[in-house]
């Protein structure tokens, strides 16, 4: 059985997920920076839809004109969809940033990132283990 470590689905998915998480960290930082800006609306990225995309087993098929072209890609898009979060109460200044919600999202994102980096690390350890003939370095 041929194992291709460097075109690993798990690595691709974890990498894309980490990319999304760092984008989300930007959004949360933006919400927190504008916590006192009149009229600012809380924003978020389409996060769960993203996981749905990653989990779908139906890859995107690209039109190819030559046999060497990449035909199938896993549907990981680098751009998340941005939207204003509905249903939040806004104060008199029409700003609806909720500090507790944002702090929760902040640690949630950091935790997810840490988790993903452990998974990627584990993957590379597997490679290192086979290089070292099974000895744990």
């Amino acid at each position: 059985m041929k194992v291709d470590f460097f075109h690993d689905q798990t690595l691709d998915a974890a990498g894309a997920y980490m990319g999304r998480l760092s984008q989300r960290q930007q959004i949360v930082a933006s919400n927190l920076a504008n916590i006192d800006t009149p009229g600012y609306k809380t924003k978020d990225s389409s996060f769960h839809a993203t996981m749905q995309e990653l989990l779908s087993d139906d890859p995107v098929t690209l039109r190819t004109s030559r046999p060497g072209h990449a035909g199938k890609l896993t549907p990981i898009v680098s751009q998340a969809q941005m939207f204003e979060v509905p249903g939040l109460d806004s104060g008199a200044d029409l700003n609806n940033v909720d500090i507790d919600r944002e702090m929760m999202k902040l640690s949630e994102t950091a935790f997810g990132y840490s988790l993903m980096s452990q998974i990627v690390r584990g993957k590379f350890r597997t490679i290192a283990s086979s290089i070292n003939e099974g000895r744990v370095s």
Binding site: S22, Q26, A33, T37, Y40, K43, Q79, S114, S117, R121
Partner: protein, 141 residues
């Protein structure tokens, strides 16, 4: 690198809240400042926050929705000064009234607390983004 943008945005929040803190402190210390009769007394000041795109030092933000914050101006509260009857005061006018600034120490303290809380929230955002970068570096350790 997008985590750098997160730090940049957080830092803009820290700067804005610190400047706001300075302005609020200026109000607090001048709560009882009087001026000679006939001159304008000190008036309460506040800052105006405006959302602004972050500086793209390490590559652009991934979406226009990512916005830092800046102070677009310091505004003066035009409400009426407090009139206190104190004929013996150096700055009293002919009827014996002294004009004190339109500053309520309680209001200022609440604003100071709000600025502190927001500062802490932004600090936390910066710290977590730093931690995430550290995790990336630890992958190959």
């Amino acid at each position: 690198m997008s985590l750098m943008t997160a730090i940049e945005v957080g830092a803009s929040g820290l700067t804005a809240q610190r400047r706001r803190f300075e302005v609020l402190m200026g109000n607090l210390v001048n709560a009882n400042t009087t001026q000679p009769a006939g001159t304008e007394p000190y008036r309460r000041k506040d800052v105006l926050f405006t959302a602004t795109p972050p500086e793209a030092t390490f590559g652009a933000a991934f979406d226009d929705a990512v916005q830092g914050v800046e102070i677009s101006g310091v505004v003066t509260d035009r409400s009426e000064p407090r009139k206190v009857h104190d004929p013996g005061h150096e700055h009293a006018d002919r009827e014996g009234y002294v004009l004190y600034p339109n500053i309520n120490a309680m209001t200022e303290m609440v604003n100071v607390m709000s600025a502190t809380r927001s500062y802490e929230a932004n600090l936390q955002a910066v710290n977590l983004a730093k931690e995430m970068q550290q995790k990336t570096l630890e992958i190959l350790r």
